[in-house]
Symmetry: C2
Subunit: 450 residues, 2 copies
């Protein structure tokens, strides 16, 4: 694997409670203030000062599906809706990219084309859309269904949905808008196009009532981990979020994505793969360990077991907490969290001979562990330079400290090593990521002689 | 009619092109910059400085349904989506209320409950939701339908939609959230409620993944003008937008609404009726007239006729532009613009003996005419004090001048007369409007002895 140089892509996945399940209980943490926009604003501005590429905002269409009594002991029962949150952050930031999550399973393409396109206009071209298909029955039950549709059906709808949305974004060619006050010609009707889509899932006439987004198309982001998910990513994704339990697995995933992209006729450089690596930072390993343990002590057995049950999609009450993790046969995961999340934990349990309590306490968040700033920088560098990732998505463990610690302790090291940029190079997210601006389909058609 | 004192409610309906169809062409106007968030930001901040209650943002799910060649000669072919725009404005304002428009016909209650609720959290309780049902076939055609459903079906869905959304907003009782870091109890599971709705249009399990909005329920706004629309307003509305062609008609409408509210068991004071009165302001009548004529000269025959055809839902090409307006038989309006808009223009044509050209040029916007600042203040005062309205919604004719002229020339007169407040009295829109905060349905149930 050729060693690579130059800055990596940096994204921060913000969750105002902190991604570690115990984090909201830390004294001095703002993690109990999960409905506070200010909490997000502060974190986003910190990330912008550090010249991160992206602030990532996740979303789901339910409270986490834990029994009420356990949900009530977490900071996961409520959240701001992501598109509105992204719009508000767009108004108070100026350079950083913002990725909003929205599900193709439970919305209409005309509505999302407008909302995501509008975000791109409001932010001056700084938007990515994390295309998700949702994966739990309890989300489906908020939309008239009893069960979430099977994965292949979800991704088939997602593909048509995305094609419709991109078609709508191409309503106006880039040079369609004239705004000629003298003649009264606002736009050129010949460069304004209806869609007339009729497919198996959608019938959408268009035109979209919106000038083309500044980026042409906002950046398409994705995090599918299944076979269907990876195929969708290879075909459509431009910025991918992945979770892998080892650098070797990450390299395999990276290769699979880049090969898939090439097979789909795309330049592999047009897909950036980000790995979720989530150190709790200290000046020293001991300091990091101490912070981490402080959060681990704020977990409790029942809530942790219930979280693990949700991740595995199975009942774990039969496994005593103080015994070693046995071989666990996972149920069909086609409606559950991605197998990669599950296997990550089971592999770790096997390798490190964990007890059930250690296993379920490991579901404290996503792949969170203590690291000194220097060791963390080493790890990022190794993953980046040896082709395990084009960059990183940090699921910040505790707030606001997890952000400020990273920015103050790790970023300076990364910057010295050339792994994080000195300043933004462009005004749009595409420019900062080095992704080309999509040519409008009608302009392409026009420029090809008949 | 008892004379009334004290400040009226003031709302500005912002459209970045200006509501007058010729306005975008004015030299020095920013009205050609219709996709610009800055344009909105500036206007909203001007309104906030003037202590307006509300900035109103309309929305529709199409470009205006004019033939492309005519649409291309207007500033109506594109717009920012309203919910994202409202969120961005919430982040840059601090006191003024913000009303976002969203259609119950083409969205899901779970999605809108989240988005409108999220806006209320982000803004600290300054949100109103303008509940619309959409009214043109071309909007329906962006959502898989050939025709817009008939009005009674739309309002039946709207009622169930609103009931579901309010039920979702009541998921958390107001005192449900404990955030007890010491014990680890985030909320009280006994004060957290699923919805379990199964109706004729929707099946929604809940819970909503959001703490109760700061206002309990964001303010319900509405502008229905049909029989169904008025019935919906009387039952649900808290802030209404109306267009009437004379003060007498406005008083009748006002009475009908207040009586309807009383019949529905509500306190008539809990519905505020705003009248759309849209003067183009000058220091003198001549100055106002000159500005108005400047915009009228920027209209053209074909575009104006096409607009009028859209409003009337009929072909007008058979009527010569230089002849007097004949008796025109309007088609069934059940899918068109409200009859009130149509009758407004026909009454005026009859009373003032207009030519067809004058009629179609009258569709320059909504009820826009020139007035000196003093005369405008007199008109507002008369409408307010004699019970034709609780306040006003200004469809600003041209931007940014229409806003700044109003703020600089009319507001000081209104303030001297006590018709506009000195300062905001509360932090939420409800408080500023004097509307009670709805009690959570579960709390009500709890406080009634069994
Ligand atoms: C970093 C990261 C963030 C994610 N964020 C979300 C999210 O916000 N909402 C969501 O529904 N799914 C989210 N997912 C899940 C994925 O979108 C995807 O649904 C999941 O990985 C299952 O993949 P599959 O659909 O291919 O099985 C995330 C995954 C990762 C790795
Ligand atoms: C001031 C005002 C603003 C309005 N804004 C919108 C809007 O933004 N979007 C929309 O679809 N309808 C809008 N309407 C139309 C009404 O919501 C309603 O659909 C229309 O008056 C027809 O009434 P009906 O449904 O009772 O026939 C507006 C009406 C008025 C008076």
């Amino acid at each position: 694997m050729a060693q690579r140089k130059g800055p990596a892509v940096w994204a921060a996945f913000l969750w105002p409670g902190g991604h570690h399940h115990g984090a909201w209980r830390l004294p001095g943490s703002t993690g109990d203030d999960i409905m506070s926009f200010d909490n997000y604003r502060r974190m986003a501005l910190d990330c912008e000062r550090a010249k991160f590429d992206v602030v990532f905002l996740g979303d789901r269409l339910d409270a986490w599906p834990l029994p009420d009594e356990y949900l009530a002991r977490t900071a996961r029962g409520a959240r701001l809706e992501t598109i509105t949150l992204t719009a508000a952050l767009a108004a108070v930031t100026s350079r950083i990219g913002l990725v909003a999550t929205a599900s193709t399973t439970f919305s209409e393409p005309f509505n999302l084309a407008r909302q995501i396109g509008s975000l791109d206009h409001i932010s001056g071209g700084r938007i990515g859309w994390n295309v998700v298909t949702s994966y739990t029955d309890d989300q489906a039950q908020n939309y008239g269904l009893d069960h979430i549709p099977p994965r292949p059906a979800r991704y088939a709808r997602a593909q048509e949905f995305l094609d419709v949305v991109k078609g709508l974004w191409d309503t106006y060619e880039d040079d369609a808008v004239l705004r000629d006050k003298e003649t009264g010609q606002f736009f050129d009707a010949d460069r304004f196009h209806k869609l007339g889509h009729e497919g198996s899932h959608f019938k959408v006439a268009g035109p979209l009532n919106m000038e083309r987004p500044p980026q042409g198309h906002p950046v398409i982001c994705q995090a599918g981990a299944s076979k269907d998910g990876i195929a969708f990513a290879a075909r459509n994704g431009e910025l991918l979020f992945s979770i892998n339990s080892s650098i070797e697995r990450a390299r395999d995933y990276y290769q699979a994505i880049k090969t898939g992209a090439a097979d789909a006729g795309r330049d592999p450089d047009d897909i950036k793969v980000l790995a979720s690596i989530n150190p709790v930072i200290g000046r020293t390993q001991d300091e990091a360990e101490e912070k981490y343990q402080q959060m681990q002590r704020l977990l409790d057995d029942d809530v942790s077991r219930t979280f693990a049950e949700m991740y595995f999609g199975m009942d774990l009450s039969g496994y005593p907490l103080d015994e070693l993790v046995p071989e666990i046969e996972l149920p069909d995961a086609s409606h559950g969290m991605p197998r990669a999340h599950q296997e990550y934990m089971l592999n770790k349990a096997r390798d490190e001979k964990l007890t059930m309590r250690q296993l379920v306490y490991g579901f404290n968040g996503t792949n969170i562990y203590p690291k000194s700033a220097e060791a963390a920088a080493d790890e990022f560098q190794e993953w980046y330079e040896t082709g395990a990732a084009d960059g990183f998505i940090l699921q910040i463990s505790h707030v606001p400290e997890g952000v400020t610690d990273f920015v103050e302790l790790v970023v300076p090291i990364l910057r010295r090593r050339g792994l994080i940029r000195e300043d933004y190079v462009g005004t749009t997210l595409r420019e900062n990521l080095g992704l080309a601006r999509p040519v409008n389909r009608h302009t392409t058609a026009r420029s090809v002689p008949a």
